[in-house]
Amino acid sequence: VATSADSNDDFDPSVLDELRRLADGRKELFTALLAAFEDETPALLLAMRSGVAEADAAKLRTAAHTLKGTAVNLGALRLAQLCAELETRARASRMDGAESLLAKLEPHVRRLAEMLQAECQRLA
């Protein structure tokens, strides 16, 4: 399983296969996943940002944990890993470096959204 920062290893292919199997050749599942993701994620990112800015470790930890769950479910390995790192730091109240981790994380959120959009289009 990929652990490097290489963008090719962003997604777990077996999870994607499983999602495609669940989608059963129709776009409904990915459309619903995309909507759910877009519904949930902005608030989580906002919470993480203000958690970092206000040095509110509990807030950061909760948001990072939730986003990690979503990332794991969708096979977004890199995003999950970055969330886990943030969560670990927040749990230990080590807020140094949190900001740069968050900055690294945001493009992966976009990439995940793009992946879901691509699947929607592929099945449309």
């Binding site: 399983v1 777990d12 077996s14 999870v15 296969d17 499983e18 999602l19 199997r21 669940l22 599942l29 619903a32 996943l33 759910a36 993701f37 519904d39 949930e40 909760t62 944990h65 939730t66 990690k68 769950g69 979503t70 794991v72 479910n73 969708l74 096979g75």
Partner: protein, 423 residues
């Protein structure tokens, strides 16, 4: 790394209704989809409170419960479920991240059936949900069977006890009938000879007058007293005869025959007998008897011994409860038993009402069940009303119901078809 087999996992067990409790929309969507793929129906809840609401309003077979949720988390939901008798038996599978094994252990010991780690492994998911639903189904089936058996046992016991009572009543009936019959003969002699002797006084006076023997005032006085006594003997012999006839009617043992019955007369006799029965045990007992018999009621096809037993029972109960209230309230209260008949065309209605404390709403449903009694131990068998119900409803295809206002009255209503149609 999660394994994704090519084949669709399936559950062999009967599909059920699964509640998915998960705060994250993406996770909720995927989990729901996977569960539906297994052939189950799903409901979702986004937090613990909503989960408990759903559990109270729907018949849910299995709960998939996320541990980490804001507000009310999975552990709290599990704890509340286990504390609630209505939800305790519903199986719960905890859903948790790999980093939350401590909570998983805690939840399993708090009564969770199993757990599923995130990310979901489809095979594991199918196996655990399937096993849980199957266990639930077996448990439900077992409970249903146990309930059925208990019910059957209860019915059997009731039937046995009813048979025993019927048997006892029948043999007691035969005995009473024999004795009553034996008493009836001498009673007839007493009555008839008292009547004849009474008539002799007239003749005696006539004779004395015709021979011209004037009677001394005190002899005349004694003669009148004697005549009066004879009248009393006659009157009371007739009364005793009435009671004995009533006993004969009710007590004839063995199988009763269907016959055309004068309902008003049967009812009057039964009420009278119930009253005398209570008086025999408690001479101080007094009750105001009110009767309103519809003269148009005429003949009804019935088994008089059995139907009479119903009236005897209802009237006896009425007297008993009116008397209890009198004991409680004292002299200002007049115990009253009202008996009314009414012609309803092809059916007839009998109402027996007492002004005792009535039937509380809480016991009304069990009133006609065997062994149910509100009388103190040793006073009631709890079988009177159940046997009455059998006689009226099963045997005579009628209705037996009760109307009551607590603290005010109880009124038992018997409705009978006029004609008997053999089953």
């Amino acid at each position: 790394m999660s394994a994704a087999p090519a084949e669709t996992p399936e559950i062999a067990a009967a599909p059920g209704l699964v509640l998915v409790v998960e705060d994250s929309p993406v996770a909720r969507l995927l989990l729901t989809r996977r569960v539906e793929e297994l052939g189950c129906r799903t409901l979702t809840a986004v937090n613990g409170r909503q989960a408990l609401d759903r559990l109270h309003s729907e018949a849910i077979d299995l709960v998939l419960l996320d541990i980490q949720m804001p507000e009310m988390d999975g552990r709290a939901v599990l704890q509340q479920m286990k504390a609630d008798a209505a939800l305790r038996e519903t199986p719960v599978i905890m859903v948790s991240g790999m980093d939350d094994l401590d909570s998983v252990v805690h939840c399993i010991s708090a009564g969770a059936e199993d757990y599923l780690p995130k990310p979901f492994n489809p095979v594991l998911l199918a196996a655990r949900i399937g096993a849980c639903l199957e266990k639930k189904r077996l448990r439900d089936e077992q409970r249903r069977k146990t309930e059925e058996l208990e019910q059957a046992l209860q019915q059997l016991r009731a039937a046995q006890a009813q048979m025993l009572v019927q048997e006892k009543m029948a043999s007691l009936g035969a005995l009473t009938a024999g004795i009553a019959h034996e008493i009836k003969n001498p009673l007839n002699f007493i009555g008839n000879f008292a009547e004849l002797s009474g008539e002799l006084f007239g003749e005696l006076r006539e004779e004395l007058r015709s021979v011209g023997a004037p009677l001394a005032a005190d002899v005349e006085e004694r003669l009148a007293a004697l005549e009066q006594n004879m009248g009393k003997i006659h009157e009371h012999a007739r009364r005793a005869d009435g009671i004995v006839s009533g006993m004969l009617l009710h007590a004839r043992g063995g199988k009763g025959e269907w016959q055309s019955v004068d309902l008003n007369a049967l009812l009057a006799q039964s009420v009278n007998l119930a009253y005398h029965g209570l008086r025999a045990r408690d001479p101080s007992f007094q009750i105001l008897l009110e009767a309103d018999y519809d003269p148009n009621i005429g003949q009804v096809e019935a088994v008089p011994q059995d139907l009479g037993r119903v009236f005897l029972n209802l009237a006896g109960n009425g007297c008993y409860f009116a008397r209890e209230k009198r004991k409680k309230l004292g002299g200002d209260f007049t115990p009253t038993l009202s008996v009314r008949t009414r012609c309803l065309g092809a059916r007839v209605e009998v109402r027996i009402r007492d002004n005792g404390d009535g039937v509380p709403a809480s016991v009304r449903e069990r009133l006609f069940q065997p062994f149910f009694t509100t009388k103190p131990t040793g006073v009631g068998t709890g079988l009177g009303l159940s046997i009455s119900y059998d006689i009226v409803v099963r045997m005579h295809a009628g209705e037996l119901r009760v109307e009551s206002e607590e603290g005010e009255y109880a009124e038992f209503i018997v409705v009978l078809p006029r004609a008997h149609r053999p089953a």
